[in-house]
Point group: C2
Chain length 311, copies 2
């Protein structure tokens, strides 16, 4: 299965495990990298010293390439980037910010940079900024999301038409069929989040993992669009937000109602009622918690089965 994403990251399969807050520590990242994919540590929910610890443990747990996902609005961004460089991390996925700011700085330090976008416009800006790959993430993805609401099915071919650098599809992919469909639409590889939330190695609270497994079609919604749009499971907190919307809240009221640390409360501490539970629509296709290596293996097996049957 030779392709641009495999070559770029020196991995066996073009499967990237999304770097998700409260979910992707060194256990998950190293398990995926050991299975032949690319594991990413999610720096977004880690203090600098915690991130350093996870990077060191990841290096101890795999000899394969792994990376770190860094949201560019991170408060201690420069400290985080320096730790990544000092620890010898070779791959960084940036998201939620301007790729022009840090791409060449990271590349000058020998780091391969991919940037996550949700539109053709920002895919082009990322290519212009010199990133090594673009992750194009559709509306169906869990967690924070773009304002254009372009879905994976439409975004991938539209981006593919405009850029020439490696393209990674994200949003709605949890199976070998999904991986193949994304690649037929124009992707060189896939980034998978939700499926790995419900893995044994994910740091998500077991309550949250079980909730993901129970979630069905229609069980999530993209909400809080006036702040940063976020796809959540429709739990009690979500319903209270919808109730608040009836009173035409302004941004500050929404921010106050959201409060702080609600994603941690839901995803890491397991408060299914009042926490934020970030997951993608494809949760409806996820029925069991499994080891990360098994997930990678099943995706690759299904990919080859479908290829043989369909073609």
């Amino acid at each position: 299965m030779p392709n641009k994403v495999i070559e770029l990251f020196s991995i066996k399969y073009p499967i990237i495990q999304a770097g998700m807050i409260w979910v992707s520590g060194y256990k998950l990242a190293s398990a995926v990298s050991n299975a032949g994919g690319l594991g990413l540590i999610g720096a977004g929910s880690m203090y600098p010293n915690v991130l350093r610890e996870h990077i060191q443990k990841c290096k101890n747990n795999t000899n394969n390439p792994f990376g770190v996902n860094v949201p560019l609005f991170y408060p201690d961004l420069e400290e985080i980037l320096q730790i990544i460089i000092d620890e010898g991390v070779k791959i960084v996925f940036t998201s939620a910010g301007n790729p022009k700011l840090y791409t060449s700085f990271l590349q000058d330090n020998g780091i391969i940079v991919a940037h996550v976008v949700s539109s053709v416009k920002f895919a082009l800006k990322s290519q212009e900024a010199g990133v090594d790959a673009v992750v194009a993430e559709g509306f169906e993805a869990g967690g924070h999301n773009g304002r254009e609401e372009s879905t994976t099915f439409t975004l991938i071919p539209m981006v593919k038409e405009k850029i020439s650098i490696p393209l990674i599809a994200a949003g709605g992919i949890a199976s070998g069929r999904g991986m193949m469909a994304a690649m037929i639409l124009g992707a060189d590889g896939v980034q998978i989040g939700s499926r790995f939330v419900a893995s044994e190695e994910s740091s998500a609270h077991i309550n949250f993992k079980n909730k993901v497994v129970e979630t069905e079609d229609g069980g999530t919604d993209l909400t809080l669009k006036e702040l940063t749009p976020v796809r959540l499971i429709k739990n009690k907190f979500y319903l209270q937000v919808q109730e608040l919307y009836k009173h035409n809240p302004n941004k500050d009221e929404l921010k106050e109602f959201l409060g702080r640390a609600r994603a941690k409360k839901g995803m890491f501490e397991g408060d299914l009622e009042m926490g934020e539970l970030e997951i993608g629509q494809i949760a409806g296709l996820i029925h069991k918690i499994k080891p990360a290596a098994k997930i990678v293996e099943e995706i690759i097996n299904e990919y080859h089965q479908v290829k043989n049957n369909f073609m």
Copy 2:
């Protein structure tokens, strides 16, 4: 290319041209049927006598199977269905209503019935109602749309997992790559709307066709969700609706602002500013008005090319 949809409708290619209001008259439907797909007349925007005329002209213009799309909220529904039966139409696609009400009545009159849904729940209800096929339409589709907001990429495999009757994917498909991706995700065929709006034979006003060709990623939005959610091009009317939302309008205010015949004004009369312009996200991938037969041919050619290159 043998499959369930081809067998069910006795067509050459598993491509259904969506029955769209103000767009799909006999010219478009017969052109698509003559090209080996299944053309559908869109009854939703036709008075009963106009529909009868289109059916008769369609019969005069093709010897291949064609069908009629009937929204089940149609005011003169029983009259419409009787015309369809009297004129010997053999295929009906129903949408926007309860499939239990008319499916067996139509089937008793020798008609094959497909029903359009936007969720797993209604796909199951349609199968229980005895329909011959289900069209599962994703969030990215143009025009009226479901409340679950499930995208084609997630909806198709979730529906496929639950139903055994033929499954047709809709929403976001305008190319051979899209067709193949949808079929890999579990569909037996595809329903294509937006791409045929910008065909020579569509009844859409030339202004609207040109606008579809110009539309880029992010150019549409699903709005008026308190009424029936509808995906529209972001024109002046759309922006006025968004302005109205700032004042927390109730349903009646939205209905009054929408008024009557706004889809006709935009799509049929070519008022690009104040009309409703219903189109899917995949408009961003549509760059030229073409003959319907050429569209079908290009989709099939690309499908085979991709199959050969990819596999």
